[in-house]
Each structure stands twice: as C-alpha cells, then as structure tokens.
C-alpha cells in the first residue's frame, strides 16, 4: 500500500511532504507508522531520520495512531478572543479526552492547531477536511453527536 502510493510520485525528495500526506490520509488511523517511514526512505533514497525529522516538524502529521475523525480546533488569537477556550472545554467533556488524545472507541482525536484561515467565522475547527465555523458550545456537541450517529 505504502509503496503503491510512493510510486505515484517521482522518487525525488521534494515529493516527500506530498507522499506523507497521502499515506496519512489513506490510513484508517490517520498516522504514519515506522514501517511506512522505512519504505518511503528506501524509495526516495533519503535517511529514515530525515523523514522522521520532517514528520515531527509539521503539525499536520502524526507518528502515533489516531481516531477516525481528527478534530483540529484553532487556538490562535482571533478564535481565542471569540471563546475557543470554552469550546475546547466542552469538546473535552463531550469526548471524554484531553488535548492530543483519542476516544476509547477510536472515533475522535482532539487536537489544537494554529490559524485555519477561516477567521471570519471564529471560533473555528476542522474535522478531517470539513470546516465548522461560528462555533458555540451547543453547536460542537451537536456536530460531534451527528458524526457519532452517522457511523
């Protein structure tokens, strides 16, 4: 699987970020395993430690398994002054996890992130590829429950 993804790209180092994105996005647990790192390293002819360095530098990557849905709540100033702290508190209660943790059923991982560029609708979060704006405590609970019900 990993090698198939690699082969879509020319074996040049500048494709590394793209390849890692695709590996992570297609993995049900949204992460990049140590085994995958080795395969990419061999394919691109770069040391595994270089890849590990890249993985841990960028916030969108994870080296540990995560939930099926990744919640990324913005904590930058525009969202902060619109009350993203309250949203975070509610999300923690609703999900029963802390920041960076995954729910027991593997449905959600809660993360914080910097500006998502949708500040006109602060506070904002992304769940996977979808943006949710103008959040209120009630609204986030509704959103989470809706996703829970849909699976």
């Amino acid at each position: 699987m990993t090698l198939e993804i690699c082969r879509k790209y020319a074996p040049n180092k500048d494709n590394l970020i793209q390849i890692l994105h695709e590996i992570q996005d297609t993995h049900p647990q949204h992460y990049i395993s140590a085994a995958a790192v080795d395969i990419v390293a061999e394919y691109l002819h770069v040391p595994a430690n270089h890849i590990y360095g890249v993985l841990t530098f960028y916030t969108m990557y994870s080296t540990t398994p995560r939930g099926r849905n990744i919640i990324r709540l913005c904590e930058s100033p525009p969202c902060y002054i619109k009350g993203s702290d309250n949203i975070l508190r509610r999300l923690k209660t609703v999900l029963g996890v802390g920041t960076g943790e995954t729910t027991k059923d593997g449905a959600f991982t809660l993360e914080l992130c910097a500006c998502l560029g949708v500040c006109g609708n602060a506070p904002v979060m992304m769940i996977n590829d979808d943006v949710y704006g103008d959040l209120t405590e009630e609204k986030v609970e509704e959103i989470v429950n809706k996703i829970r019900g849909a699976k």
Binding site: N12, K13, D14, N15, L16, I17, Q18, L20, H21, L44, V46, H50, G53, V54, F57, Y58, T59, M60, Y61, E75, S76, P77, P78, Y80, I81, C113, A114, C115, L116, G117, V118, C119, G120, N121, A122, M126, D129, D130, V131, Y132, G133, D134
Partner: protein, 520 residues
C-alpha cells in the same frame, strides 16, 4: 448561447461550505424546477462575493440584490417572492444603504475585481472579463526589461508583510544567467486573522496564474511552484482546475503563443508550519525538508530553490500584476499614496458589524476601514484596540485610528501593515489576555533552529502567563520587553524578530492594564 432572465450567484467558499451550501443549491434547483423556472433562472457557483456575508450568500442579477445568511427554509419564499413576483425579500437582504452597512466599492478594486462576479472554475469567464490579455501583451509585445520597468514604475510593493518593491526584486533575478530559474508563490497564509490570499485564490485563481506567468517571463523562469497550505482544500482544487484549463488552452506549456517561451506551474502543499511563510523556510519545505529558514545572503533571488535563482512573491502581489501590465503603471498609481501605490486587501474581524474582507486604496485610515467597510462597531460594543497585522503585528489604541494604513505611514508609529489582518477588540476584552494568546502562538510556532527564538518564545510565554494569573510584577513586564528586544536583534529570521511589536505596542498603549494586573 443560452439567455436567462436572471442569474443567481452563489458564493462557494470555506465559509459557505461550512454552512451546507451544496445542499442549499440542490434545494434551490428543485424549487425552481417546481415552478418551471429552471430555464429562466441560472444558478452560478462563484467565489467570495463582493461582501463578506455570514453563512450562505447570494447575489441576484440584473437587480444586483445581495442576500446573506440564507437558509434552506428561506428558499420557498425567495423563489415565490423574488423569482416569480420580482419582489426581493428584504428580510434576508444585505442592507447596503443603512448607517451600519458595509461599502461594496467595486469601482476601486484591482485584486478582487472579478471576485464574486465570474465563475472561478471557468477560464472562459476570466477571458471574457479581459483575462490573459496582459499575459499575451507581456509575452508578444514586451521585452522582459520592459515588464520589469513597468512594475518598478507602478511602485508595487510585496503584500506579504515586508513591503519590498516587487519590480526591484525581479530586477535582481532577471539579469542572472542560469540554466534554470523559478518563480515561487507564497500561498502559505498562516498569519492569525489573515485569509485574504485564500479569498483571492478561491475567487479568481486565473488572475494569480496570469500574474505568475508575467513574473516568470520577466525574470526568465520556466517553472513556477505555488506553495499552498494543506488546509486550503478548495483553493487547491480550484488552482488545479485553473492550471489544467490554462494548459488545455495553450496559455501554459511549451512555445506559448508561438513565442518560443515555455512555462509550467506546479502546486506544492504544506503541512502546517507558520514559519514556512518565511521565504527561505518555504524553499526548504518545497525541497522536502523541515521548514528551517536559511541564512541570508545569498537571497533566494540569487540562490533559492535547489540553489537556483528564484523569485518568491506573495499571492496578492502577483494578483496585482495583470492589472499593471494590461492598464499600465500610470493607472495603478492613481490608487494609494505616492510611496505606497495601489490597493490593499484587508480582513477585518472581531466586534465589528460586518466582519470580512475589503479592498481599499493604500493609505486609507483604520477609522474609515472600520466605519465604512466593516459597518462600524457591533451594536452595543465600544472600540478599544485593533491588532493590525496578525500575531506579528501591533496593537493600536483609538488615538491611532486616524493613522494612514500603508507601509510608510505605519512605520512612523513603529507599527507594521503586515498581512492586512485587522482584529478589532471591544472595551471588555483584556489586552493582557490578547498578548498571552499571541505569545502562546509564537511559542508553538518557533521552529527551534536558533536559540534566541527557541528559548525566548518559551520565556515570554512563561512571563505573560504569570502576569495573566496576577502573579507578575512590573519587573516581569519590563523583562518581557528586554527579552523580545534581544530576540529582535539576534534571531535568525522574522519570526523571532516579531514578538517585540505586539509586546511593545501593548505595554506602551495600555500600560495601565499591566500596572493594574501586577498590583494584585
């Protein structure tokens, strides 16, 4: 060609997608079909409209009626009243005449002139609006030196924050003899509160491509990379479509317009690092490395991507170029001030009546922007301060509301225009709290390459946290200034040099708040 009685422009952007615009369009189509109006009313999916409506926004032509926050429940009334009987539904209309209404100023726009008017996913509409004329002119009638001379004459400054003249930058790279040169587009918009580049790319992706093409011709680059942040999914898909369309039309590719000039444009996606907005960090990231900045000089214009001469420009900068080439620099300098020509796109947020974006001439005062384009303060709120330029910006109090917003004027107050984000705070919000949030951001985003920034951002966060809890002293406040000052002089790149601006402006303009909180 089919003729419709009326056109409904629906804004498709991150905001409206978040509000379920796709379901809305489907419902609107079926309601129109129910009334046999499908052949009379055309629904057009476009980019951000001329105003920043909340939720789903529509513009109906030829009446030019704007709606905002439209819901699926409103559709029957909308179709029945507006499309059947011709009576616009005032309940959901965006008021453009009232005291608190935002000004729409289409006549003054350069960068956003097509946004919300054409279908951004259709190259023909861009061409119909005069698109790619500048590219043809630049390629077939102008020499690279003439293009650079025109851009220099226009006085166009980089819109990413630093304000360096674009023509001068191009002039460094153009004369260098090299087997390969690149144009690199900085679309890694990460400054908190800024999303102008997203709206420019969503609303009119071809205009950016045209700007890139002209720049490439001017400096002799045959490859261009757009480095865009991974979160901007809609921008990425629209740009991909636009590039493919341009290739199909022979506007991109080999021997373009039989001029012998080759050019191709590629998209590269980021992975979430604020520091990658710094040009050399961005280049490192493009090469597949950690986004650590490089030592300058050599500047990217001399040794950039893969050590080849590379011009790095912001999205908004390049989006201005087609206008300059098509209409001429003289037309461009009619906008703005003599030292800072043209317009600037701002994103206005916080407690104003109409948060959103506007494009106004350089040198427009902060007061005008807030009062006229954002509709003033939200009802019941009083202005306290505005954070201008994002986290790397300054906090301005009301006595500086009449400062002209341009690179030169703001400099006199040790302030910066930065990316053009304006975050308005009301009288109940705490400056200390705001500063805490800014410093938390910097602590998280420091790349860790150089010690002053790596350690400094940690220290600053610790100090402001202590002060925020009421456990700090005025010595701590002074210490923050000293640390940030040291970081300014010793940090490797602009990230570590930035915190001083927010800290100094907060302490100078709102000293009382710091005295108050440290007294406890």
């Amino acid at each position: 060609m089919k003729y419709y009685r009326s056109h409904v422009l629906v804004s498709i952007n991150e905001t409206s997608l978040a509000s379920g615009v796709q379901a809305f369009i489907a419902a609107l189509r079926s309601e129109l079909a129910k009334h046999n109006l499908s052949e009379e009313i055309n629904i057009l999916e476009t980019g951000p409209l001329g105003f920043f409506g909340r939720g789903i926004s529509l513009t109906v032509y030829p009446e030019n009626v704007n709606y905002e926050s439209v819901k699926i429940e409103d559709i029957p009334e909308l179709v029945d009243e507006h499309f059947l009987k011709g009576r616009p539904v005032s309940r959901i209309m965006l008021d453009t005449t009232g005291k608190y209404s935002p000004k729409l100023n289409y006549e003054n726009r350069i960068v956003l002139r097509n946004s919300g008017i054409i279908d951004p996913e259709n190259i023909d509409e861009y061409i119909g609006a005069g698109g790619y004329e500048a590219w043809e002119k630049a390629l077939t009638q102008m020499q690279p030196t003439e293009i650079i001379a025109e851009v220099k004459k226009s006085g166009l400054r980089g819109r990413g924050g630093a304000g360096f003249p674009a023509g001068v930058k191009w002039g460094f790279t153009a004369p260098i003899e090299a087997p390969q040169k690149y144009v690199v587009v900085n679309a890694d918009e990460g400054e908190p509160g800024t999303f102008k580049d997203r709206l420019i790319m969503e609303g009119d992706p071809h205009q950016l491509l045209e700007g890139i093409m002209i720049c490439a011709r001017a400096v002799g680059a045959t490859k261009a990379y757009i480095y865009i942040r991974g979160e901007y999914k809609l921008c990425i898909s629209r740009l991909e479509k636009a590039i493919n369309q341009a290739r199909e039309y022979g506007i991109l590719g080999t021997n373009i317009f039989e001029s012998g000039f080759d050019l191709d444009i590629f998209i590269k996606i980021g992975a979430g690092a604020y520091v990658c907005g710094e040009e050399t960090a961005l280049i490192e990231s493009l090469e597949g490395n950690r986004g650590n900045p490089r030592w300058k000089p050599p500047f990217p214009g001399v040794k950039g991507l893969w050590q080849a001469p590379s011009v790095v420009n912001n999205v908004e900068t390049l989006a201005n170029v087609p206008f300059i080439i098509a209409k001429g620099a003289d037309e461009f300098i009619k906008h703005g001030t003599p030292e800072c020509t043209g317009t600037k796109v701002y994103t206005i947020l916080g407690d104003v009546a109409h948060p959103g974006l506007c494009e106004v001439d350089m040198g427009t005062t902060l007061r005008t922007i807030i009062n006229e384009y954002a509709g003033g303060m939200k009802k019941g709120f009083r202005f306290k301060a505005a954070l201008v330029g994002g986290a790397a910006g300054v906090i301005l109090p009301d006595r500086l509301l009449d400062v002209k917003m341009d690179f030169v004027s703001l400099n006199q107050y040790a302030a910066v225009l930065g990316s053009g984000a304006i975050l308005v705070m009301n009288e109940h919000q705490s400056i200390v709290d705001m500063l805490w949030s800014i410093l938390r951001f910097f602590r998280h985003e420091s790349c860790g390459k150089c010690a002053p920034c790596r350690n400094g951002t940690q220290h600053l966060y610790k100090l402001i946290s202590k002060i925020r809890k009421g456990e700090g002293t005025m010595e701590d406040v002074e210490l923050m200034q000293t640390i940030a000052e040291t970081m300014f002089h010793t940090s490797f790149c602009a990230l570590g040099q930035s915190p001083i601006m927010a800290i100094r402006s907060a302490i100078e303009n709102f000293r009382d708040e710091f005295i108050e909180i440290t007294k406890k």
